[in-house]
């Protein structure tokens, strides 16, 4: 029965296979993040579709651009800038909205889907620790998605500028100048805003990942219903909405904490609102939030340790 044993390459010490080249933690993390992108291709496909739709819509809208531009050029420079920039802000808003949905569904599925399809038994048969797995899954909302949104926004904005300028030039108007539309400044503000939003929302991502590691079914309900129930109970019992405003502040607080002024109505990233990183970093709320995010992720790692297929 063991005749083939001699044919196989024998390890130098019997029973002790030769020490293999070690694999660094960074390499394991890199492959695990790639694995997430293979599995959840919606992470980049959804924002790309949104960007394509935005560009098509902008192109159609640009038919009337020369007429509108003539009216805008009569305004003072600040008003010109606000008017021209508006369409570009809408693009940012739509991409952020898409990303938020992707965020929500990714986080809730990250540690739940692998248990539901039993593949957790395969992943756990490989030398990737629970910590590395949870960190690689956290990399998607914390790093990959913000960078993707930024990159796709830059491409979309450039496309919009080219389309708009083409329509203007054909109609004998001057192309948009950098003072009318300071795109590099818009992008830097966006990058800062994305970083602030990610840090501020860290406990939300952590909480969603925790629920996805814990829930046996319906992680979306487990993640949201307890909060909604508290809001409802408070409203019915005390006729107040303290908890509801707390929740809103939790989700949207970064817009007031990370910038010098309150943003104008409806705008997530207000290009005329100066950034205030010192104020943001000095807010104790931010650090409490980061600490709770770390706590939630730690619990998710512990939960995954003994979680099996469901």
């Amino acid at each position: 029965m063991n005749t083939q044993a001699s044919a196989l390459p024998q390890p130098s010490v019997p029973g002790q296979p030769a020490a293999p080249a070690p694999i660094s933690a960074a390499r394991r993390l890199y492959w695990s993040v790639r694995r997430e992108l293979w599995e959840h291709s919606s992470i980049y496909i959804a924002p790309l579709i949104t960007a394509a739709v935005m560009l098509c819509g902008f192109a159609i809208n640009s038919i009337g651009l020369p007429r509108r531009r003539r009216a805008v050029l009569l305004l003072d420079p600040l008003q010109q800038r606000i008017h021209i920039e508006k369409a570009y802000d809408v693009a940012i808003g739509m991409l952020l909205l898409t990303a938020l949905l992707v965020w929500l569904f990714y986080c809730l599925d990250a540690l739940y889907g692998e248990r539901r399809d039993r593949s957790i038994l395969f992943w756990k048969s490989l030398p990737v620790s629970d910590l590395a797995t949870v960190l690689s899954k956290a990399m998607i909302p914390f790093v990959a998605l913000p960078l993707l949104v930024f990159g796709i926004t830059v491409v979309t904005h450039t496309g919009m500028l080219l389309i708009g300028n083409a329509f203007l030039l054909v109609n004998g108007l001057a192309p948009t100048t950098s003072s009318q539309l300071p795109l590099p400044h818009v992008w830097l503000t966006l990058l800062y805003g994305l970083a602030a939003m990610t840090l501020w929302n860290a406990p939300i991502y952590g909480w969603l990942l925790l629920v996805s590691a814990w829930a046996r079914r319906a992680p979306l309900l487990w993640a949201t219903l307890p909060h909604l129930a508290l809001v409802a109970i408070e409203k019915v019992a005390f006729q107040t909405s303290f908890f509801a405003s707390l929740l809103t502040y939790r989700a949207m607080g970064w817009t007031t904490e990370a910038f010098a002024l309150r943003p104008r109505g409806g705008l997530l990233i207000d290009p005329l609102n100066p950034i205030a990183p010192q104020k943001f970093l000095a807010s104790s709320g931010l650090w409490i939030r980061l600490a709770s995010a770390a706590l939630f992720l730690g619990v998710a790692v512990r939960l995954r340790r003994y979680r099996g297929p469901i």
């Binding site: 044993a5 019997p14 694999i23 293979w38 599995e39």
Partner: protein
């Protein structure tokens, strides 16, 4: 150092006792079959060995405690659960990339070599492959990992007989050597009887029999007798008796083979025959236990 050493291994799920004080010792280089009815605790025992669940009692696998040192253990242990655990969305090329990316003992060229013998294409997603192909792929991945311990939990579940035979042939011819240890559970125990070096019967969370194949072959004998000689055969205290086509088949533990041969036809029983005699207290009355 034994490959696996368990003492007083216990695991309960709520009020259900899955493992009830299991003592087990598996030496390096053995192929152990873990045999038991559904719900006997086989998978629970394997999951404890792999550090996938919490448990009570003492357990050392390759000298490590699976509870606290799982991350170190997992590099030296390969695991195949039933065929359904490969994620359905992943592509063959991706799973090769990923395992090569994270496993220091994975030999990609070897895995590609195994796959070349099959009809599996690199660009296929798992969901497009047949059950047999998925198990071939999983086996190719596992055979290319230079592990010290391979744990197989119903690895051929749902496969046809050809695919099952192919699976175990590859396992034996391409993988096993004396420095590796294999622990396998399966319901088709007869099919792997020839490759085992040891087997363990587990029932109700307890080990009811532990035996090496050498001991099994010298210890147990099956006698087929004509009705007129049954009384004489029964006097030799069989551990089980059953009727097949009007003839009695009696199973003996440590009986004298020459004495038996005088009464009828003597064969070595299959593990399944012994399993029925030892574990099945309902239909096949265990005479040995009664006497």
């Amino acid at each position: 150092m034994p490959c696996i050493e368990a003492r007083g291994l216990r695991k309960t799920f709520g009020t259900t006792i899955a493992l009830d004080g299991v003592d087990l010792r598996v030496e390096e280089g053995r192929i152990l079959g873990l045999v038991g009815p559904n719900g006997a605790g086989k998978s629970t025992a394997l999951h404890a060995i792999l550090g996938l669940i919490a448990y009570e009692g003492e357990l050392k696998v390759l000298g490590h405690d699976p509870r606290t040192q799982r991350d170190r253990l997992v590099t030296d242990v390969s695991f195949v659960a039933d065929v359904a655990v490969l994620p359905r969305w992943i592509r063959v090329a991706q799973v090769l990339d990923y395992v090569a990316g994270v496993h220091p003992r994975f030999d990609r060229a070897r895995a590609e070599g195994f796959l070349a013998r099959t009809g599996i294409r690199r660009s296929s997603a798992i969901r497009e492959l047949s059950k047999g192909m998925v198990s071939q792929l999983h086996l190719a991945l596992v055979l290319a990992i230079d592990a010290k311990l391979l744990v197989l939990d119903e690895p051929t579940l749902g496969l046809d007989i050809l695919a099952r035979k192919q699976f175990y042939d590859s396992l034996l011819n391409d993988y096993f050597d004396r420095s590796r240890t294999i622990v396998v559970t399966t319901h088709q125990i007869d099919e792997i009887q020839d490759i085992l070096t040891d087997f363990v019967f587990i029932d109700g969370g307890r080990i009811v029999l532990e035996c090496s194949m050498e001991a099994f072959e010298s210890r147990y004998a099956q006698l087929m007798v004509h009705p007129e000689r049954v009384a004489a055969a029964r006097a030799l205290r069989p551990i089980q008796e059953r009727q097949v086509f009007g003839r009695s088949i009696l199973l003996f533990d440590r009986a004298d083979r020459h004495e038996l041969a005088a009464l009828g036809e003597v064969r070595t029983p299959s593990i399944a025959d012994l399993f029925v005699a030892v574990v099945d207290h309902g239909a096949g009355a265990p005479l040995g236990a009664a006497q």
